[in-house]
Amino acid sequence: MSPYVFTLLIFNLGLGTTMTFASSHWLLAWMGLEINTLAIIPLMTRQHHPRAVEATTKYFLTQATAAALILFASTSNAWLTGEWAINQMSHPLATSTIMLALALKLGLAPVHFWMPEVIQGLDLTTGLVLSTWQKLAPFALLLQVSSTVNPLILTLIGLLSTLIGGWGGLNQTQLRKILAYSSIAHLGWMVLIIQFSPPLATLSLLIYIIMTTSAFLTFKLTSSTTMNALATSWTKSPMMTSLATLILLSLAGLPPLTGFMPKWLILQELVKQDLPMLAFFAAMTALLSLYFYLRLCYTVALTSSPNTITMLTPWRLNPTQTSPLNPLTTMLTLALLPLTPAILALVIY
């Protein structure tokens, strides 16, 4: 791909998301989403591998359907109430349809099936873009409509997402699919809390983006896409491999690490809203996710896999797939928890 075209596409990727952020009219928001989808498509097929093309086709079909559904629901809302503004939706049918369409765009539970397959077909960098930047525009819309959507639908989608995200990842050996299921589970937590505290949902998204960025970039550093490859990644970069364990535990949400913060605050908020059973079930589904993260940690850190002498040589070579972002996000992933009071003071209260 020519660097000019690459720059153009990256620029348009930003343009689409920014348009969706800035718009208050559904038509403009829809246009932003369309520009976003159009710009990511050639970036996804950059390798022109059959798997990449297949993933792109599936991504295109789901995103185009979701965008059309969003515009249809907002048009219905305009027909019934005469209102086009995003945060003024009032008809229950339209808001429910929009919620479903946004769930399809984000890859939330009843309509999540495209997500693992699409991530599996892409290289790690594009997968990273897909699971972070591409979530921003639909999430901004979700934040604006969340106060009008039926709370039961939001709760069901959120709980189902955390459950499916944990359950689906159990049987996977492919790292990208595991990361996709982890994305589904994390977004489920955000949807659970979005009706009670939108700033908390945004904070969770931010922290999820930081954590998943460091996970993707670390896997990219060691060029590992399966659990097998992870088992010998200590020969390539021993330091990052030991940190990868901690990154995975942070994604799982264990206490001394950053990933604990959103789970902690969300559970606290749910209990504060007098929904202890919901908090209980959400915490239980997080255990399912914890299982596959722990299995990855076990492969990375606690096993010494049988290997031949040639597999041990990569330590002689300098890693080529480095990224300047990786040290920063890794540090944030591991050590942001002590800043929780400051973040709370700045963001939530």
Binding site: L9, E34, I35, L38, A39, P42, H48
Partner: protein, 173 residues
């Protein structure tokens, strides 16, 4: 006129039934052309003659490209039409579904609902939609520029997706 517009609305629904019932793409494109034609009729009936013209020229013109694709890809010796058993089941299923929903709403449709809005006006030369579309060149200029930009972007997208002789695994030649 009311009768005609109702007929066109019916044509729109039946066109989409013809598309949705999973025939060969060749015939699905034909169903879409029928639906687009009926949609033009609906728009004319409601007084949007310019929008109807745009739909007819641009949408059907664009449809022609898809139609050419489907004609080129209709490799099957016996493409499925709506008369085939597998498709016919879906056609009947969808028509039945639409009729059930129509029956659900039937009581709420008073006589006045059926009157197309154009019948209530006198004969006018300048239509509202013409002047509305003309706004695209004055106050809506930003959106026009955006549209042009997106069309340019699409050109690059399409070129990047289909570029390269050595790409892909299966080659015809």
């Amino acid at each position: 006129m009311t009768y005609l517009v109702s007929l066109f609305l019916l044509g729109l629904i039946f066109g989409l039934v013809a598309v949705a019932s999973n025939p060969a793409p060749y015939f699905a494109a034909l169903g879409l052309v029928i639906a687009a034609g009926a949609g033009c009729g609906v728009l004319v009936g409601h007084g949007g003659s310019f929008l109807s013209l745009v739909l007819f020229l641009i949408y059907l013109g664009g449809m022609l490209v898809v139609f050419a694709y489907s004609a080129a890809l209709a490799a099957e010796p016996f493409p499925e039409t709506w008369g085939d058993r597998s498709v016919l089941v879906y056609v009947l299923f969808y028509i039945l579904g639409v009729m059930v929903v129509v029956g659900w709403f039937w009581g709420g449709w008073h006589e006045a609902c059926w009157v197309a809005i154009d019948e209530l006006k006198e004969l006018v030369v300048l239509r509202g939609d013409v002047s509305g579309v003309a706004l695209m060149y004055s106050s809506g200029g930003g959106l026009l520029m955006l549209c042009a930009w997106v069309l340019l972007l699409t050109l690059f997208v399409v070129l990047e997706l289909t570029r390269g002789l050595n790409r892909g695994t299966v080659r015809a030649i």
